[in-house]
Amino acid sequence: MANKKKKRLIFRSVVLAILAVAVGFALYSSFTDDEKAVLKEGDTAPNFKLKTVNHEQDTLALSDFEGKGVMVNFWATYCEPCKDEMPYMEELYKKYKDKDVEILAVNLDQSELVVTRFLKEYGISFPIVHDQKGQVMGEYGVGYLPASYFINPDGTIEKKIIGPLTLDRLEGYLQDIIPES
């Protein structure tokens, strides 16, 4: 009698466990599926390599800045708020370069001419790379512009900001990714 009851308990536990695993799997997969497409704070920023628009090197990779804090900014000339924050980045780029914090802006226009024209007009000197086919944009899961990723010296994402930044906030985030020395 006790034996039978024990058997029943084991049977029930096993069935429930199998069901729990299946449900857990479904929930887990659906949530990681959503999140895989979009990078989160704390993730390692994927490496990329793109042609430059205004740099002595032909191409720049994120790995070229290993050990430094990097702000990766996604922008385009047809994005008005992106244009507004460019002068702030220019201002702070010079200030933070000495502190080993780099700014790398990934442009998403199709035509390089438009970009060069814009850089001339705004007097931008920090490195701009051209993601003509939107590959890096896809890899980072960028949907809205501007989008900025503040990457720690160890390659992890410290902060991700969708939308425009003010000068103060931008400076605050740059502060956060200064390498310790």
């Binding site: 009698m1 069901l19 599926d33 008005e80 035509s111």
Partner: protein, 543 residues
């Protein structure tokens, strides 16, 4: 005291309502099925002991019993239905056609209600955790409720004996006493039962005639099908089992196939659309009804490549051609489990524009020189023959005026505008020309030269869907088993007829799980040629 011994000698498990062997009501358990001494017996699950109603000790038992309840199952389905209908109040995130992110879209468009809608996850209902838990709970309830019912029912139907308790027979819906029936009648009835393909078992003159027992398993077969179907749906979360992605490819362009993890690339060599001939008598009427031309065929002539180097985003891949073919609607190109379908297209995107430079006062507009501008990635300088030079000073792919300043709405050359600087030979100061579709401005008003559009090159964009689905066989099998279960339960009935010999004549009782009319007809036929009256329907009598 767990087991219940019936007076017929059969030992029943705890919670039994009607003795498995003889059907005698177990006194202390009549409340379970709401039986009342003066009423007909509730024959649900043949009065077997549904375990869920008896044990309730450990936490495992409590969870088990929760999901085992049909009431809980029905509530889960009802809640899911209500939630699903609430999810249609505002558009789902994937269909809202808005550039705004979901966290802003719902609040801005629908105010407070929209905000709540978004917060509760109704904007992406099928992806929200609580909706998934609801669906999963229905699945769990399906499994547990089935196990808890099919096992005792099976046991009870297997253990049943031809000899039934008098109470059991008296409290069947179809019951009759044939006191004047003869031995001859008794044998005729048995013969006629066999003729009507009843399975007859006898025990000391007691008769059980049974037909279509397997229809009782219909609902459980049906549940097994559903569970397999749900498992198939679950498998869709595994990327190696299921991929459904879209990609737009312009003519001449090579693009990565989404969903293949960067392994395959596709080139759109040519995109072709053929329309039905509007002058053809056969089609004229329907085309008019449709209100425009109707495509007969659209196809992409494509080349498939496989990447041979390590992928690093941004770096152009090394590709090796693996396949070539034409993709038409319902005629996909297949590779490595992936099928690439033609889904949609956009025609006539601007690719290049050709301009000519001529003297402003020349009535014939004779070309001094011609040049072609690539609208996706234009060059900045064009040198014409005879020493003229044109600089593309600024370019707006999709031109608009914003606060009095020319700008571009997007990066796609949908409505291009140009600022050209023309340098005639030997001149240092350029002439400025502003050109857009339908307008040609001379900002300073003293230009000697003019630029005009002479030619346009268009190209088409093909919309492809990449699909891989290894869950289909599972869904197919699940669906088939589901249907078999439905048919099994719907088109067959489990009919039983009992005959109990008495000192004078015999008693007849009948039970079926559905279609009482059919059982009554059967009884009429079986009793034909005997002195026995067909049993009365005790339920109808009462009403």
């Amino acid at each position: 005291m767990n087991k219940i011994k019936c007076e017929c000698g059969h030992i029943n498990p705890e919670g039994t309502v009607l003795c498995e062997a003889c059907g005698k009501p177990v006194e202390e358990n009549q409340h379970i099925d709401g039986n009342n001494k003066s009423k007909l017996l509730n024959m649900r699950y043949d009065g077997s002991a549904r375990r869920s109603k008896t044990y309730n000790k450990t936490i495992v038992d409590k969870i088990w019993n929760f999901f085992s309840s049909v009431k809980v199952g029905v509530w889960l389905i009802a809640i899911t239905l209500i939630a699903s209908s609430l999810g249609t109040i505002f558009p789902q995130e994937m269909n809202n056609q808005s550039p705004l992110p979901a966290e802003q879209y719902y609040e801005e468009n629908y105010g407070m209600a929209g905000q709540i809608y978004y917060q509760l996850g109704f904007h992406d209902l099928y992806g929200s955790w609580w909706y998934m838990i609801l669906i999963a709970s229905i699945g769990v309830s399906l499994v547990i409720a089935s196990i808890d019912r099919v096992v005792p029912l099976y046991r009870s139907l297997k253990k049943q004996k031809p000899k039934r308790h008098e109470t059991f027979l008296k409290r069947q819906r179809l019951f009759g006493q044939a006191e004047y029936a003869s031995d001859q009648d008794y044998h005729t009835v048995i013969e006629q039962l066999k003729e009507r393909r009843y399975k007859v078992t006898q025990e000391n003159g007691h008769v059980l005639a049974e037909k279509g027992r397997f229809s009782r398993w219909g609902p459980y077969v049906n549940h097994i099908g559903l569970i397999i179907f749900l498992l198939g749906a679950l498998m869709r979360f595994v990327p190696s089992m299921y991929v459904d992605a879209n990609v737009w490819v312009r003519e001449g362009e090579t693009k990565m196939l989404e969903g293949t993890e960067g392994e395959y690339y596709i080139k759109n060599e040519d995109f072709i659309v053929e329309m039905y001939d509007e002058n053809d008598e056969r089609f004229k009427e329907s085309i008019e009804k449709q209100g425009g031309s109707v495509p007969k065929n659209y196809q992409t002539n494509a080349v498939l490549y496989q990447r041979t180097d390590e992928s690093l985003p941004g770096v152009d891949p090394e590709l090796e051609q693996v396949k070539e073919g034409e993709i038409r609607v319902n005629e996909p190109l297949k590779i490595d489990g992936f099928a690439i379908y033609q889904t949609t297209y956009q025609l006539n995107e601007f690719k290049t524009m050709t301009f000519k430079l001529h003297e402003k006062n020349d009535a014939d507009e004779k070309a001094i020189g011609e040049f072609t501008v690539d609208l996706v990635d234009p060059k900045s300088e064009y040198t014409l023959d005879n020493g003229y030079r044109v600089e593309l000073y600024d370019y707006y792919p999709e031109f608009e005026m914003k606060d009095g300043v020319p700008s571009s709405y997007s990066k796609y050359p949908k409505d291009p505008a140009f600022v050209f600087h023309v340098y005639p030979p030997g001149q240092v100061e350029p002439e400025v020309n502003f050109l857009a579709i339908g307008s040609n401005l001379d900002p300073n008003g003293d230009n000697q030269y003019k630029i005009g559009i002479t030619d346009l090159e268009m190209r088409d964009v093909t919309g492809l869907t990449i699909r891989k689905d290894y869950t289909l066989p599972l869904l197919g099998i699940g669906g088939a088993i589901f249907m078999i279960g439905v048919i099994q339960g719907m088109y067959w009935n489990h009919r039983r007829i009992w005959i109990q010999p008495k000192e004078q004549g015999f008693w007849v009782a009948g039970h079926t799980n559905k279609n009482w009319f059919g059982l009554k007809k059967d009884l009429e036929k079986v009793l034909e040629g005997t002195s026995v009256e067909p049993p009365e329907d005790q339920q109808e009598l009462k009403e």
